[in-house]
Symmetry: D2
């Protein structure tokens, strides 16, 4: 299948590569052209403009850093709204706010185009390994037709339904459940430390018991070892995720009290100069609140 | 090994059975005598008094419902403090507050006796299956000597260290991490439901992704199905656990903000007449706060 | 009117004095007898036993430090339940939990006696100045008959209704509203300090604006001046109040999220060795969480 | 003094009127011209363009509804940045985010102009009565020179210091303290109602006691009467204020846990269709969480 691809950052590059490796013809575009080279070396075709990318194949994928970037990409002169043909499909793969996805859905809809939101669960190395999950929301016929693309990128494709915003909500809520789990872990470790329990012992109780899964094994280890550098996801990025969740809740009338606690620990970490630490540094903020660290 | 055993409720009975099945000689005592029969039929010896149980073997195990029961068992006339010999060991196996464990440690210590706290992680059926975890805290020599008893009861024995209260803290913190996880799950499901996501879809994303462990699979299912009856652990019992955690935090200066959220959802469920529902009914309280259910 | 009075601590002493100054005959009893002297010098009659105090007049007032003390006073051999005549009235004036008041109501009721709960709002010096408020809950006829006693103690008497527990709830909720106000003040001051606002300026904006009342003037000043010693009410005592409120909420199904925040700040202060500071030290805990103080 | 004035909504109109009544010459501009008439009838001069307003006098005041409006007013072609002369002063009087004020400060600074932030505490009718407070932050010399303008608008002028953002922070924090107070009141009323206390009784205890100030008298009454229509400030507007506070906290590393509780009650109210009720409807959301109302 032929497909355009815009946004060759760390995540975009590995996604485009998987499309190529999956036998698809990929027309790549990036604002800074030097990022094209590794992909064209790998078999991609360089696109000279957004318009070219938008008209290269069955759809155009964007993998952009934030709401501002994707909204600009769609609405600016020469952007996707102008460039995509009637009936064209924009596969929006980044992590975006529900508000942005709703807006994009309307913008493309008004132009007779379709939006599919397809956020990815998993870091770039997980995508490369073929183990990522892609959550796909959009018009079922378009989703069905383009399924080979999703399948090429991700090991697992989850159908979120006909509304693009549903896919965004799933991604946001998945991060939410993770962030809250890490925060509560931090509380649990602070509590047991105060009672003389070695962190490794508590770690073992959890991960060999009810919590034998990636989230607890990975972040429980960071916390048990009090090792927050280098970061996987930074506290500042975690804060963005927390804000996405709280905004999504507000937009639909869902108070998220654990989300508040999650966010506050990140704000506290940032207040103490730890914004660039792994977001598991929430556990340090909890330890600080408990008088365990200065 | 010979061992006394006091408290043949649902959990006590299966624990005593495992001791017998493990080849130990068990002298059982219970306030209401009719509960002795199934155990004596299974090979236990009936004890006529607390004193007899306390002097039957290398130690005496108690498995009692709450702090009041175990404190009374130890301090009353004819109770364990009076009855245990110097050097005797009380293995306290229930879920108790840190305050109670600290008190019992001192009471027995003053009498030249030793306390081992050994709470069990896992429900009665898990104990029967040999898959429970026993967390053991107390004087290392006593713990070592009595290890065959712990090993007979539980599939996994975790050493919490020389302080009995450390074992209590681990049990409490394990429940804490679980309770907070369930509460946050409730928030995540309410959020995704509001965006039109089918609960099963979100359940799959979580449990086939970062959260492929018992806690999320079990409670995520209850929440996805909105099925809170019959209860495993009831909301009212969950509230007890939450209070144990918050009290443990207060005693050592550990604020537990996620613990507060956990507790509030249980209070809310009780306020709406759902105290006897499974504690996953927290998710219903969250749904109610979000206008999803009346 | 003749009245017995038990408990001559700091608050009890000034209350008994006001009764005497109001022309009543007061029969005083205290566990440690040396506290009787200042009162008998002032015109009180010393009672040799609880029984004597209980039978001295129209009612007996207790002003005891906590639940344990008053429950013991009522239930022990020679205590008030035994000593009060049928139809006798126990005026319970301390700050007690709703659970204790419910229990006392039943204990006295079972013995054909009556309980009136009459907590005092205001510190001892406020009582002396005649400016305290007494909240009175109990059987209306008894309350009416004994009104001269309440009026002698307090400048304002508030009728809480026929249930003693209603009076306890008002006292607890008044403390609750105060504690939450102080906590939120701490947040507001931390926020403005981070934006370069002099604390006195923000203090002025609040107290010359919407918040020109004792609570904000008094505690806003402590916070603006960062002066938490000597304490009026200590953080540890504030923590007791917070726990009374949360327990009252739990007993009737009222989640109290602001109450949790209030309590957590006190737990945090205690964790940092500030349990004996004024409870306005919550603002310091907030400042610490914000990276403003170490 | 001559002064330009842009933005004649409800609040802007009464402010402009006070300037005129204070003897100043006011050049008014509004996007929709029909709002000019009442002001020109009152003595104002109609300005044909933003540029005219910006160059009419010693400074130009804006009173616009939100961040987007004021940022657009400053940055658009023909906007204030283009139109104000070097050395010109923009007095920004609305309630804006700290981020917007920081941005405006830089925009004008880059153009050799000055920004003064001067949010108003008090509703339009309070401004008319001359009882409002204006909080002024900006370059001290400009503030001093323009003081007659502030004094004409508000009964009290508070100097926030040289940074415009300090004034914004004060306004935001004042709303914050108020919002948290109302929320906690709601909890207190729910608690006492559950113990059979008549709302008026609790209202009296508070407002005749420690809380005898406008905030508690006004909002306590709404809550005691359960009367949330018509709204003074709506729940939806309160939510904006809560978000301003949380964003201000995040930007400087100040976790605001009571602020979260405040925000969640507003989100809950909106979830139940009460977004247009007075923001004291938070108390109804609390009552709902407590099972007191459906």
């Amino acid at each position: 299948m032929k497909v355009g691809f815009i946004g060759l950052g760390r995540m975009g590059a590995v996604m485009a590569r998987r499309l190529i490796d999956g036998g698809h013809e990929v027309g790549v575009y990036n604002r800074t052209a030097k990022k094209l080279k590794p992909l064209t070396d790998h078999g991609a075709k360089a696109m000279a403009s957004i318009k070219d990318a938008a008209n290269f194949g069955a759809a155009v994928v964007t993998m952009l850093t934030d709401d501002a970037a994707v909204l600009d990409m769609v609405t600016k002169a020469g952007g996707l709204k102008e460039s995509l043909p009637k009936g064209g499909v924009h596969i929006c793969a980044g992590t975006h706010s529900v508000a942005a996805i709703v807006k994009l859905t309307k913008l493309h809809g008004d132009a007779g185009q379709a939006l599919i939101a397809s956020p990815v669960l998993g870091r770039p190395e997980v995508v490369t390994a073929g183990s990522a999950t892609m959550v796909v929301g959009g018009p079922p016929q378009s989703v069905e037709r383009l399924r080979p693309l999703f399948a090429a990128i991700a090991g697992r494709v989850v159908d979120a339904g006909a509304e693009p915003v549903s896919a965004a909500a799933i991604k946001i809520a998945n991060n939410f459940v993770l962030g809250c789990a890490i925060e509560a872990l931090g509380e649990g470790f602070a509590l047991t430390r105060k009672y003389g329990v070695a962190p490794d012992v508590f770690y073992g109780v959890l991960t060999e018991g009810l919590f034998g899964c990636w989230a607890y094994k990975t972040y429980g280890k960071f916390i048990a070892d009090e090792r927050y550098l280098p970061p996987g996801q930074s506290a500042l990025n975690g804060l963005k995720d927390a804000n996405l969740a709280l905004a999504a809740g507000e937009a639909k009338g869902v108070p998220l009290p654990s989300g508040n606690v999650w966010r506050d620990r990140l704000v506290g970490a940032v207040a103490h100069g730890e914004g660039d630490h792994d977001w598991a540094v929430m556990a340090k903020d909890q330890a600080r609140a408990s008088g365990l660290v200065k």
